[in-house]
């Protein structure tokens, strides 16, 4: 059911854009060498890759949000809570200010450095969190918050000493920045993200048990260490991939899990797949808005996710929280 809605949204959004195109014309194929079929070009090489990218990133962020909320037993958690965002931001900043111009497998240095920054931060936070011992989760959270603050300060430091035109590039990236990616990048990204989400499905029952706290989960025969390690690694990895593909898109990872939980309940066995689908739909729709609202210019998609998502979420919150009692 959910998948059908997703495909319908994808098709609808493919039809919307600055230039009006017709599917029928596009279906006639790429055209001869001399006379390029513009409808086909726009649909297949401009809009479709971007929609697939939004689908991927939305699903990844929403699932990572679900997992971080379960892992930390904290409704305020999102994919960026352990400092991934600032790590990636710092990486991107360094790439821009240093003025690198090479590419790696077709990826710009911004994306490569963002990925390195994100993964490095995750490793650092995990390492520091482990040193804090038995109260692992509190240690992780504190380490994440502090690392986040520290890297944000470094980003602001670089911003204040760097040349304005260079900083401008990164600011767009920090607000969430989607472009039409080539298909190779998309397939590789999709491969990693989808297998990550699939891996998360397998630990969904254990994530349910973890909501009672690690001691109770252990007493129910759940392997808490293994569950936490898988959840942490996979959620961090798909977040890092999403961030390196599209910059820092906020709000999806926080709000989609809550919205789905409010409407459909907290059981992770359905929360995860539904969040993946809703996250994908939400980001495709908001990215389409970002493309067309002030066309031919574009808004950063991160701005639209918050402006659209905020009110929608508040309505859901008021409507459902009385029945669900989600905070207790």
């Amino acid at each position: 059911m959910g998948l059908t809605v997703l495909i319908m949204v994808m098709m609808a959004c493919a039809a919307v854009g600055t230039a009006s195109i017709s599917f029928r014309a596009a279906l006639e194929g790429p055209g001869e060498q001399a006379t390029v079929n513009p409808d086909y070009e726009i649909l297949v090489n401009v809009r479709l890759p971007r929609i697939l990218l939004a689908c991927l990133v939305g699903a990844a962020l929403a699932c990572a949000g679900v997992v971080f909320q379960a892992l930390l037993r904290n409704p305020l958690a999102d994919p960026y809570i352990l400092g991934i965002s600032s790590g990636a931001g710092l990486g991107a900043m360094i790439a821009v200010v240093a003025g690198f111009s090479w590419t790696l497998w077709g990826r710009s240095p911004i994306a490569v450095f963002a990925f390195i920054g994100a993964s490095g931060t995750v490793w650092l936070v995990w390492f520091v969190g482990r040193l804090t011992g038995r109260f692992h989760v509190t240690g992780l959270l504190l380490a994440g918050v502090v690392v986040n603050a520290f890297f944000s300060a470094v980003i602001m430091f670089i911003t204040s000493i760097a040349r304005a035109d260079k900083v401008y590039d990164t600011i767009f990236w920090l607000m969430g920045y989607m472009t039409a990616e080539d298909f190779l990048t998309l397939w590789i990204g999709a491969g990693f993200v989808l297998s990550g989400i699939l891996a998360l499905f397998f630990i969904a029952p254990q994530l349910n048990a973890l909501s009672l706290g690690p001691d109770n989960a252990v007493s129910m025969g759940v392997n808490v260490k293994k569950t936490r390690l898988i959840a942490f690694l996979v959620a961090s990895a798909i977040t890092a991939i999403a961030v390196s593909l599209s910059g820092l898109i906020g709000f999806v990872g926080l709000v989609v899990p809550h919205a789905v939980r409010l409407v459909f309940g907290p059981d992770h066995r359905q929360l995860l797949p539904l969040s993946a689908i809703v996250g994908a739909i939400f980001l495709i729709a908001t990215d389409t808005l970002a493309r067309v609202v002030i066309a031919p210019t574009e808004l950063p998609v991160g701005v639209v996710t918050a402006i659209v998502g905020g009110p929608v979420f508040l309505v859901l919150l008021v409507k459902y929280s009385r029945q669900v009692g989600w905070m207790k």
């Binding site: 029952p205 048990a209 907290p266 009692g325």
Partner: protein, 277 residues
């Protein structure tokens, strides 16, 4: 006959300078109901966590079915023990049945879904605890007594041979305290569970529990048949409080006396001792 739980010379300390449990030995026979009582800080909850393997003893051994607790895998241990800690409320708004079903997590198939046996175990646990009527409601909408019954249902659904409980009646009124103990007694007698509960309620323990382990704050302890272990003198000593002992038939009851009651009692005694007034 060897007990289902055998604790031998157990010692444990969180920090090196203060040993919370010292050289404790006791035995729990299969199918019996043991109360662990004692003042705050005597190590009751610590002992519970040692029993279920969450903490490891510094010295001494804890055996379950003749094997040291540490030698069991986490999953095998969950077959021996189900634990009801104080207020184990899940982080998100799970419904009663979803929460009880969590106890079956380790039995789920590889796709993460419950089997018919799992659903049957959950339904039996809900029936046994009289919680089936609010199975679909979120946990947060229940009263304290209802919630405690759901926690016990979760423990029953785990199909373990032993139930460990940490002060299951601490927030409940008289009616619900009795209801919880009736429920536990039924689980002991009808489902042949071994039950170990930490409690502050000496009187409920003396009514329902076959055995008691009385832990003193100074490291002393008394264990054995509830009737023989409990006496006014002993409770006075262990809890450091004045105790009134009363009897209904064979059943003895212990009531702690407050300062004002004691003073009034003393002046009444004086009056009766001085006939010229």
């Amino acid at each position: 006959m060897s007990g289902i739980i055998e604790v031998d010379n157990l010692s444990f300390a969180y920090t090196a300078d203060r040993e919370i449990l010292k050289n404790i030995s006791f035995r729990v026979d299969a199918g019996t109901f043991l109360a662990i009582a004692g003042p705050n800080g005597a190590g009751k909850s610590t002992l519970l966590n040692l029993l279920c393997g969450l903490l490891a003893p510094d010295s001494g051994t804890i055996k379950v079915d003749s094997m040291p607790v540490g030698s069991y895998s986490n999953e095998a241990l969950a077959e021996k023990f189900a634990v009801v800690r104080q207020e184990p409320v899940p982080a998100f708004g799970f419904s009663v049945i979803e929460m009880v079903l969590m106890a079956r997590t380790r039995y789920f198939g590889s796709m993460g879904f419950e089997s018919r046996q799992d659903r049957q175990a959950v339904n039996e646990a809900l029936e046994a605890t009289d919680t089936a009527q609010f199975a679909a409601r979120p946990l947060s909408s229940l009263s304290g007594g209802e919630r405690q019954r759901v926690f016990i249902a979760r423990a029953l659904a785990q199909s373990s041979s032993i139930l460990l409980l940490d002060e299951p009646t601490s927030f409940l009124d008289f009616k619900h305290q009795v209801a919880i103990y009736d429920l536990l007694k039924a689980a002991q007698l009808e489902k042949n569970k071994t039950i170990v509960t930490v409690t502050h309620d000496i009187n409920l323990a003396s009514q329902y529990c076959d055995q008691i382990l009385l832990l003193g704050a100074d490291g002393s302890y008394y264990t054995g048949n509830t009737r023989t272990v409990l006496s006014a003198d002993r409770i006075r000593k262990v809890f450091d409080v004045e105790i009134f002992e009363g009897k209904i038939g064979q059943e003895r009851f212990f009531i702690p006396l407050g300062k004002s009651t004691r003073e009034r009692g003393q002046s009444d005694n004086k009056k009766s001792q001085s006939p010229h007034l």
